[in-house]
């Protein structure tokens, strides 16, 4: 009895903490129509700042105030100087907040180091309190109290003040709100800052019992997203009920099944999705809140090379198919001779780049071509890798069986996840993909007896030939070309054309008689399996698997590659993969702050060149050709 009561109180207080976090997320979403994926990072920074201030001044209340104010300021600066410029492009906004995860996370690690810190509780609060014959930790009760106060405060602001009226009016119809004189820009900045203030507060008051450590940002993000996936975005009631559900379930499940408790999170989100894709109390997804695909960001996979006045240039040598074929042949030849002429070190590097190329291409199939922005493609990479690891260690030494079962498991997972996730759209889909990949990572982390926990699976037996660098290079090279050729055919097939059509307008494709759901699901499965192919090559290349394969870092690297190269093309992700792998390699010899640089690079790419190298190239190319065709007239 006492045991369960304790867990319920723990769950309730964790739920209240989650509510404070999710309320901020929900408020920001309702008004700005974006999901702040860096919300967990504000939590983390709030915790660290609270820790430092408490250590410096010795005062816990001061620490809380400092955490709140600093996070509010950081949030307002982020909104004002990064997000505001992309008001018409919510996808760019969400990707920016995604990039900020890595910037903030790595900065925090730089400043506060990699070891967990624990904020000291006020002595008065560290004891236990007796209520009705049972004793509870006082601090947990305090958290409950703070949660209740914030619920009431938020309710009062929204229901009873003029600011609340402005916020609700703006949530109803943002454009019309400006038309009655509400200063939306200011309101959005203030609301964003208020949302991050709440998270900062949570970070600081959560620190005494959760601790503060690198990676907590993503963990908190996962819980916050689970809350809004269950309760719905943009609704305080949803955030409240979702938070209590997630809090209690999580603490019960972890007590009952320490290793596999995370499955409960998976099940909860899956059930919520099946019952209602926008959560129990979520705002309906108005067309304006869907992450819309902008031409600027996604390129046409096969642009009509000549249009209108440009046709004069057709006779130029660079426009002929023969030129393209010559280029392809040169690249192919270069790829074939490179192990012969280059040192082993570079051959290994190129092998890695080839594997990443496959992974990035597979993601670009749904992201760039289909406009289905998955931020959790690493799931397939990890699933395939773990299946290989497990079958190789425990079941069979047959390469054929290992690969066969890995691809089968991967395809099956893609089918189930696709069936579940594709019910949602836009920002919900993006959140779900992150959330599910993180759940997989958490399971891989905690299910020690099967997955090996945080150490992963090491010393995976590999066929002898894979240990030869050159052979493995050629193998990766072949697979990469095969995937490229396959995707090229896929893009030009009926399904590929339908997929691009869906990206432009789902409604139109439905009215043209396409089965939109099926096209999306099929593409999702194809992308998943090809992503798995990259994962299995990676295992044979490295000989070990770790939960990090599932992490958002893995997905983020692929997205960086795609955005760097140019989304919606096949060559773009390859260019991006070689660039990122090469730069990462150079930088890792100089600095440990690779993640920070990746994050900054990501943010800069989204701001400055969202259509990537291929996009820039095409733009310059058209300009050049236009000039040429004009001067020849």
């Amino acid at each position: 009895m006492l045991y369960w009561l304790t867990h319920i109180v723990n769950g309730l207080s964790f739920g209240m903490l989650l509510f404070v976090i999710a309320a901020g997320l929900s408020l920001i979403f309702g008004l700005c129509r974006i999901v702040n994926l860096s919300h967990g990072s504000f939590y983390l920074l709030g915790g660290y700042i609270g820790f430092s201030v408490a250590r410096f001044t010795g005062s816990f209340p001061l620490a809380v105030i400092a955490a709140m104010l600093s996070m509010a300021a950081l949030g307002m600066l982020t909104e004002r100087y990064l997000l505001r410029r992309f008001r018409v492009n919510p996808l760019a906004q969400v990707l920016l907040t995604f990039g900020l995860i890595f910037v903030f996370g790595d900065l925090a690690q730089w400043i506060w180091g990699g070891t967990p810190v624990l904020l000291e509780k006020v002595p008065m609060l560290s004891g236990a309190t007796n209520i009705a014959g049972f004793s509870y930790p006082t601090y947990r009760l305090l958290i409950l109290l703070i949660g209740v106060v914030i619920v009431l405060l938020l309710w009062w602001i929204l229901a009873r003040t003029r600011l609340g009226i402005f916020i609700r009016a703006a949530v109803d119809d943002g454009e019309m709100a400006t038309g009655v004189g509400i200063r939306m820009n200011l309101l959005m900045t203030v609301t964003f800052g208020f949302g991050t203030l709440l998270t900062g507060l949570a970070g600081c008051i959560g620190a005494p019992f959760l601790g503060v450590y690198p990676g907590l940002d993503i963990e908190v993000l996962l819980y916050a997203m689970a809350v809004v996936i269950v309760g719905g975005l943009g609704s305080l009631k949803g955030a409240f009920i979702g938070a209590l559900l997630v809090g209690i379930l999580d603490s019960m499940a972890k007590a009952l099944w320490p290793e596999t408790g995370m499955f409960s999170m998976f099940a909860l989100m899956a059930i919520a999705l099946i019952a209602k894709p926008t959560g129990l109390f979520g705002l309906p997804m108005a067309p304006s809140s869907q992450v819309s695909v902008t031409e600027e960001m996604f390129l046409d996979p096969a642009p009509s090379s000549t249009s209108g006045s440009l046709s004069a240039a057709k006779t130029d040598w660079w426009a002929r198919p023969a030129f393209a074929w010559t280029c392809a042949a040169c690249l192919l030849a270069a790829g074939l001779v490179c192990p012969i002429i280059l040192p082993t070190y570079y051959v290994r590097l190129f092998t890695l780049a080839l594997i990443w190329s496959i992974f990035a291409m597979s993601l670009d199939l749904i992201l760039g071509l289909g406009g289905i922005v998955s931020l959790g493609h690493a799931v397939f990479f990890g699933i395939c890798a773990y299946t290989i690891g497990l079958t190789a260690l425990r079941l069979t030494s047959s390469l054929f069986l290992q690969i066969g079962s890995a691809l089968f498991v991967c395809a099956f997972a893609a089918l189930v996840l696709g069936w579940l996730l594709l019910r949602s759209r836009g920002v919900y889909f993006m959140m779900l993909t992150i959330a599910f990949s993180e759940v997989f990572r958490a399971i891989a982390h905690s299910w020690r007896s099967v997955t090996g926990g945080g150490d992963g699976l090491a010393a995976i037996p590999r066929p002898a030939w894979t240990t030869s660098v050159e052979t493995f290079y050629y193998c990766a090279f072949l697979v990469c070309i095969a995937v490229f050729v396959f995707l090229r055919f896929f893009v030009k097939s009926r399904i590929g054309i339908a997929l691009v059509g869906i990206r432009e307008s789902e409604k139109r494709m439905t009215s043209l008689g396409y089965n939109v759901e099926r096209v999306k699901l099929l593409s999702f499965v194809v992308a998943g399996v090809l992503g798995g192919v990259a994962g299995l090559l990676y295992v044979y290349f490295n000989g070990y698997v770790s939960p990090e394969y599932f992490s958002v870092d893995t997905s983020a690297q692929a997205i960086t590659m795609i955005i760097f190269g140019g989304a919606g093309t096949l060559i773009g992700p390859i260019i991006g993969a070689f660039f990122v792998v090469y730069v990462k390699n150079i930088l890792s010899t100089v600095t440990e702050r690779w993640t920070l640089i990746l994050g900054i690079l990501f943010v800069l790419m989204v701001i400055a060149a969202p259509s990537g190298v291929v996009g820039l190239w095409r733009k310059e190319w058209y300009k050049f050709r236009k000039k040429k065709s004009l001067s020849s007239e």
Binding site: V171, D173, A177, G179, G181
Partner: protein, 246 residues
């Protein structure tokens, strides 16, 4: 005789992406009274209104309001300067109550007649009874009243109206005619865009006709009512020549 115009629209060009909707619109409105801009469905009347309130910024041309250039201002600043909008489709805030809708836009301003909540409730008695009701639960006619009331309580110098009669019953339309006449009498300036020729001729003093993105005709309402040829050519309907309005 020569008044300074309250609003001058100077050759504005407004686009949606690539489509060029307003192609050099010129307008000028004097203080006091109602001016109507007429035009068929799809000629760009709403686009004109959206350019005036600032939802769409024209790529070329200038908009002068009370002598100052507002072309680049955002909507909230224009409302501050004294514009108010009754949009097409009403666009009241459905999850707010009637009273909260009025609070969302209320602002004080030095003027002869000042509209406050009480004032608009006197003008629209039905709304007073339903002040605590969620706006989404109002009938179409009540929503239109609320949209007008919401604009009035910001005490605008110029009220923009986009097809206020759309979807209303004939008796509601008669009611609106009365209300607009009263507002005019009190010295409120109004700019109406309409397809409903008869209604516009009933309430407006001066009319412009918009066609294919430009102003093609301008006269007093009285003159237009006697030009069935113009009505037919640009609006596709005619009220007949003999009957004089009012």
């Amino acid at each position: 005789m020569a008044q300074t115009p309250i609003l001058t629209v100077n050759r504005i060009h407004t686009y949606y992406g690539q489509s060029h909707i307003l192609q050099g619109v010129d307008l000028s409105l004097n203080e006091r009274g109602m001016v109507a801009v007429l035009g068929r469905n799809g000629v760009g009347k709403t686009t004109l209104i959206r350019s005036l309130i600032g939802f769409n910024i024209p790529r070329e041309g200038r908009i002068l309001f009370k002598g100052s250039d507002i072309t680049q201002l955002d909507p909230a600043r224009r409302v501050e300067a004294g514009l108010a909008l009754v949009p097409q489709g009403r666009r009241i805030f459905g999850s707010l109550t009637v009273e909260e809708n009025l609070l969302s836009s209320a602002r004080k301003r030095a003027k002869k007649t000042v509209w406050d909540q009480n004032g608009v409730f006197t003008l629209f008695p039905q709304l007073r009874d339903r002040r605590k009701v969620r706006a989404s639960h109002l009938s179409g006619g009540e929503q239109q009243m609320l949209a007008i009331a919401r604009a009035l309580v910001s005490n605008p110098d110029l009220l923009l109206l986009d097809e206020p009669t759309e979807g209303l019953s004939p008796s509601m339309v008669r009611e609106l005619i009365k209300i607009f006449s009263e507002l005019e009498r009190e010295g409120q300036s109004l700019l109406l865009v309409e397809q409903n020729l008869k209604f516009a001729l009933d309430v407006a003093e001066h009319v412009f006709i918009l066609s294919r993105g430009t102003v093609v005709y301008e006269s007093t309402a009285l003159d237009l009512s006697q030009r069935p040829d113009v009505q037919l050519e640009h609006l596709g309907v005619s009220t007949g020549a003999k009957e004089l309005p009012r």
